[in-house]
Symmetry: D3
Subunit: 165 residues, 6 copies
């Protein structure tokens, strides 16, 4: 019985995230997808919006539970008795950062194992921040994110533009 | 139920290998430790010797099975219905190589997932090839390998020196 | 007939940029040097100032056209029928970022090729942001930028200091 | 008018090589594909065999010339008045090596520019040496190499096995 | 007689910093620990607070002098006739950045040598910024920083929380 | 008083090696340049030849002693009471390897510090193995190695060619 968690900002969820989550759900018996809410970060979508998009996208996956979390990830692990964290690694720069994050998390929670799942090459370019920037310039991002995300992204960006005026 | 395999040369097994294997055995329900026998490589210890050392070192771990294998690792996976390969990643250079290996293996066996487990920092330096070179110069390698491996390494290297004369 | 574009912030232009541009102008039959104006970035010099410095520095190069651009670079490519983007790569970190940027750009404009030109080692250290910081502390940056840039940088920084008081 | 050369071992040519060469032939007006013959290397296929496979695979591309060369690549450049070398870069490790090679080549031939073309992600895993090893274990490599290469590879490996017996 | 300087933000000092400084003090005859005050950076602790913590932590080390400095580091070197700067390198990303910084500093002060001291693996994870973030979420950071730093960090963060309300 | 050692193969010494050694001799009060003789490696020049070239090139440097050594480098350190090893780091790949080597050496000799000196950019390309390969193809290597080395390299390679016939 492997319980695992897969945390991320998912601001917004991309096709790369979904590919990773579905593969992780084949490995784990139960998978918690954790939508992180870090008070020091500026998100385009609120925690609630990101949660709802992710729940919509993952409905039908019976062993996946989507939650939001605004404290240390290791606290989620401790309180829910989860000992394995899954992280996608896309490229070398990711790996550096992820390795360090893994070591830091293990230092404050000894019973945690962090495992890395390599991103499939066709999803290498789908960094959420790049997708948001492209969308803000009017580029078509539909091949990079699910349709419902593309629609919400368009709507959100149109709202922001109205506010700027 | 997670069946996983962890292949390697283990020529000889090091403390780093053992740390990795024991952590992997906590994640997987059943773990196959595969002692690879590649006809194009020169090993210090034969496949049979490496198998016996590993079995000795892992006895008591009920969910671990140690085997030797001289064909493609993906063939082991296919024939034993194992879909997850675990690999330790120690450092950046490892990750490059491992990432490429993972992609190649997935290309020839679509149902395989390769997951990476980061090496604990205290085992960063325990590369088996470096340990063998140090031992051949007479350095004490007992902090880097289990005692039974240190003894066999000493014996093996003494034999080789005799053959040279 | 190779038309190519070489985009950048050039805030301000450095000797490293000029070396790169002149080498690119030997490879391409026609080269567009694109001074990027990204509304989300804070520049020290305005788009117009950067354009004028670059035009001054490149006058006499008949196959080079300098322009400013405030939309996606691929839109420039599409509208001007340019299919090759040239980027300088200085070091490993650059390459990571550039590789990802190239893949993202190709994903939204299939007919684009991105080629990398390695920076000559003597220009490794000339990152524009470092030069600005050094100049703000009063260091002499004349070996790192053309004279007209050093003068404008000094004048601009003096103006900013006056404004601060 | 851009004359360029694209050197490699091509032992054997892979789908990744062909993708790279065809993209390079869109950038250059004339492209020399150079099949390198290095007396210090052991090839599976002779220079003549590699030349013939490459000529077969590239027939119909009017601006591509395939040649073999057993001296320094810069000597080819000098003697044929070619000033641009194109190299594919697949991953970070490649880039390190390629950067160094580029600097070395420029040091002995000042008029040479080396430009890097990033490998498309779907060809990341097609390292020729890995393909040969997979083929030697009987794996199907047809998705990774053109059909005529897969056939020759199978024939060549069968011949070698007979010789071993 | 080797005079050396070891600059840093030390915001706050960590066990990793102390390990590095003590090792550097064995190599150099006289070591200046420079608490950098960069007006463009936001520190959690003021220059004076960081100086006092460092002095407290290093008292008894006779060949170490702790100072604050708010100009270019090379100006300190020039004015104090110090020709060697020591920098800790923890991981690959560090090395990239440090290498570039070293080259930039040498370019503006030719007589400077920058030497790198590798971080001991058990201190790999002690990045000051990560420790501050962990502390802000209430995690116990006492294994990562000296006790007096843990206390001051707790007090400082409590003060900031009060100010927020 | 800083005693340091700088080991290497120096097969043959290059301008990059000499730059590094001379800079190291400014940092250390006494510097041992150690010409390593590893029985498992094939050298072009014998230990005695490499020693003599190095002594010739470094005569006049009063604080440098050149020696050959055919055991573990840490044994030299222990027997000569040297606690600092200096290594040049040229590029990222070097750093990976050097970091691991440093950790391994410290593991078997706790009192050793390994410090890295970054290679000056103009010497990035002077890898001894590349220089030998270039020379074997008849390329002029005089800008990359001292004159006496270029002469000995030419002579040695001519001798080898005669032996081949």
């Amino acid at each position: 019985m492997l319980d695992a968690m897969l945390p991320g900002s998912f601001d917004p969820p991309t096709n790369g995230h979904l590919n990773l989550i579905k593969r992780a759900a084949h490995i784990a018996d139960r998978l918690f997808v954790i939508v992180a809410v870090n008070r020091a970060k500026n998100y385009l979508f609120s925690g609630q919006e990101r949660l709802e998009m992710m729940q919509e996208l993952l409905k039908g996956y019976e062993n996946i539970t989507v939650v939001t979390w605004d404290r240390l990830i290791v606290d989620f692990a401790r309180e829910n008795d989860v000992h394995v964290m899954i992280r996608g690694v896309r490229a070398l720069a990711d790996f550096e950062y992820e390795f360090e994050l893994a070591m830091t998390n293990k230092q404050i929670y000894k019973d945690l194992e962090v495992i890395f799942l390599p991103t499939d090459p066709q999803y290498f370019v789908l960094r959420a921040s790049a997708i948001k920037e492209l969308a803000s310039y009017g580029a078509e991002v539909r091949p990079m994110v699910p349709d419902i995300v593309a629609d919400k992204l368009r709507y959100k960006l149109d709202m922001l533009t109205l506010e700027d005026n």
